[in-house]
Symmetry: C2
Subunit: 348 residues, 2 copies
Amino acid sequence: MAIVIALDVMGGDHAPGVVIDGAARALRERPGLRFLLFGDAARVEPLLARHPALAQASELRHTDHFVAADVRPSMALRQGRRSSMRLAIDAVKTGEARAAVSAGNTGALMAMGKVVLRTLEGIDRPAIATTLPTRRDPVVMLDLGANVECSPQHLFQFAVMGEVYARTVLGITRPRVALLNIGTEEIKGESAVREAAALLRDSPLEIDFRGYVEGDDIPTGRVDVVVTDGFTGNVALKVAEGASKFYASTLREAFRASLRARLGYLLARPALERVRHRLDPRRYNGAMLLGLSGVVVKSHGGTDAFGFAHAVLSAARIVEQRTNERIIEEMRRVAGFLATPQLRAAAS
Amino acid sequence: MAIVIALDVMGGDHAPGVVIDGAARALRERPGLRFLLFGDAARVEPLLARHPALAQASELRHTDHFVAADVRPSMALRQGRRSSMRLAIDAVKTGEARAAVSAGNTGALMAMGKVVLRTLEGIDRPAIATTLPTRRDPVVMLDLGANVECSPQHLFQFAVMGEVYARTVLGITRPRVALLNIGTEEIKGESAVREAAALLRDSPLEIDFRGYVEGDDIPTGRVDVVVTDGFTGNVALKVAEGASKFYASTLREAFRASLRARLGYLLARPALERVRHRLDPRRYNGAMLLGLSGVVVKSHGGTDAFGFAHAVLSAARIVEQRTNERIIEEMRRVAGFLATPQLRAAAS
C-alpha cells in the first residue's frame, strides 16, 4: 500500500516552491509515495503544473491560513486551527496520512502535534531528534529543545526512542547508547543524568548502554545515540553548527588570501567538494518529533528541495519501519520496571 | 615590584619539562616575572640548568608529592597537603606569590583553591572561564564545569566576573554580556536563566547586557562574554572542540585523497598555516578559576611550552590588572540590590 504523507506546503522560508520541488524529488526516489498537500491553491497549482508525476500522486487541499515563522506556539494553537500545518497534522490523526512533514515553526509544530496526536503509549514527553555526521556513521541526538527540564524517566524514554530509531531507520543492528555528561566534576553530572544512567543499566531492555559521553565524543562516532535534555541538546547542536560555519568561513578567507592560495584551492577543489558533500547539512535534514502518536518530521526552515526531499524520505522510512509501534513495544516491556522504583532499588 | 607566580611544576601530561620550558618562555616575554617552583628537585634542577635566566628568577622548593591526573578531588584534598599543586596555592594564600598556575587535575585545583583561598567577597561560587576564538575578538565563556547547577544569583555573579575579566585582561572598553539560551521554546530557557536576565537588566552596574545568545552565536563575536551554568558550558566547550577537530581531520583526509589535492594543499599551505595559527588552541590556553580569593590559572594538561607560557602570562595580567579587586568593587555596589529581591520586584 502506498504511504500517504501530508505536507504543510506553506511552511518554511522558501515555501511553497521548495516544498513542492522537494516532494517531486522524493517521489522520483520513491515512486510509491502519495501526498496530501495543504496550502494556498492559487500559489500551489502553478508549481504542481511543473511536476506532472507529483500532481498525479497528490491531492491538493486549499487553505488560506498558515502559521508564521515567528508566532508563539500558544498563539498558533489558538489561531491556527485552519492552517496548512494544523491540517497536515489533523490528516495524520484521522488516518488519511501516515506522516506529516513541515518546514515551519518548530514550537508550533510540536504544540499542535501534542494537542492533536497526543503522546505514544508509555511516553510522557515527545522529543526532537536528528542525525549528525561523525567520522564513522551518523549519530542520533535527542532531545534538541522540546523539553528544557527533564526527569530521569524522561531521559530514559528518550534513550529508548533514540535506540529504536537508530535500529529501525538507520539500520544499526545494536545501537550503542550514551548519556551526554561532563567529566570535570567529583560526582559527575546532574542528578537526573546519574539516575537515568541507573535506569538504563538496570532496565530489562537489551539496550547497549555505554554510560556517559562528553561533548567532544559526539563527532567521533563512538556511540550511535546521544541522549540529553532539550536545553543542553539545543546548545550542543547550535554550537556544533556555529563551530563548523566558523571553521568553513575562516578557511574560505584563507583560500582567498593570495593568488597562490586560490590556485591551491582550484587544485584541491574536487576533494574539498567531497568533504562538503559528506558534511552537507541537507543530507541530515529532518528533525523527528519522536514520541508523538503519529509520525511528524520537521524540515529545516531554510533548506532547499534536496533537503526537503530528505525530510520526506525520512518520514516515509519511519512509517515503513514501524518505529512508533516498536517504541510502544519497548515501553510496554519496561512499564513494570519503571513503576516500581523501590523494588528496583532493593534489587540493585 | 616583580610579580611572583607559584608554579605546580609536577602538574600536566608533560610535566615537569613543559612547565619549566613554558616558564622560561614567559620570562623572556616579561622579564619582570619571578617564580616559586614546587616540584621534585632532582628532576627540576637539570631542566633549570638549561634556562639560566629562569633559574636566576626562580626559587625551587622541593616536594616528593604531586596530585595524579585522575585522582578524585576529595582524595586530592585529603592526601595532597604536601603536593606541588597544594603548595603553589598555599603560596598565594600566604602572600609569597601573587598567582598560582597548574596544568594538573582541574577538579583538585578548584577544590584546593576553594578550601585554601576561599571565595572573593560577594562571590558564592568560583567559576571556570576561558577565552575562545571568534570571527572578531576572542569571547570569554564561563562557567565551564565548576558548578553543575546554578541559581540566578550564581549566573549573575559569573556575568560580573566575566565582564570585569573582559574589561581588565582583554582590554575591551565596554564588554557586551549575554546569557546562553535556546530559542525554540515558548517561554525561553530555564527559569534560572530567565531570572538571571532580570537581575542583569535591573542591576545598578553599567553592564552592557545584551540578553540571550544561542550556541551558534558564540563564534560570531556578537558578544564578548557568554554566561552559562557549568554543565551547559562544559558541553558547549567540548562540542566546539570536537566539531573543530572533526572538521580539521576530514579536511586532512581530503587533502591526502589524490595527488592533485596534495599539490593544492602545498600551494595553499601558507594560507592554511595562518588559519591554524589563528585558531591555535595554545593561544587560548589558560582557564581562569575566577571568584577565588587569589589568582589561580589552570593550563590545559596536554599543552606545550608555548601554551603553558600563555597561561602564565594570563595569570600575570590578571594580577597586574587587579581583576579580583575590581570584581569585589562591583559586587559591593550590588550587595544591597541582591539582598532585597522584594524591593526590586516592587520597583520593576
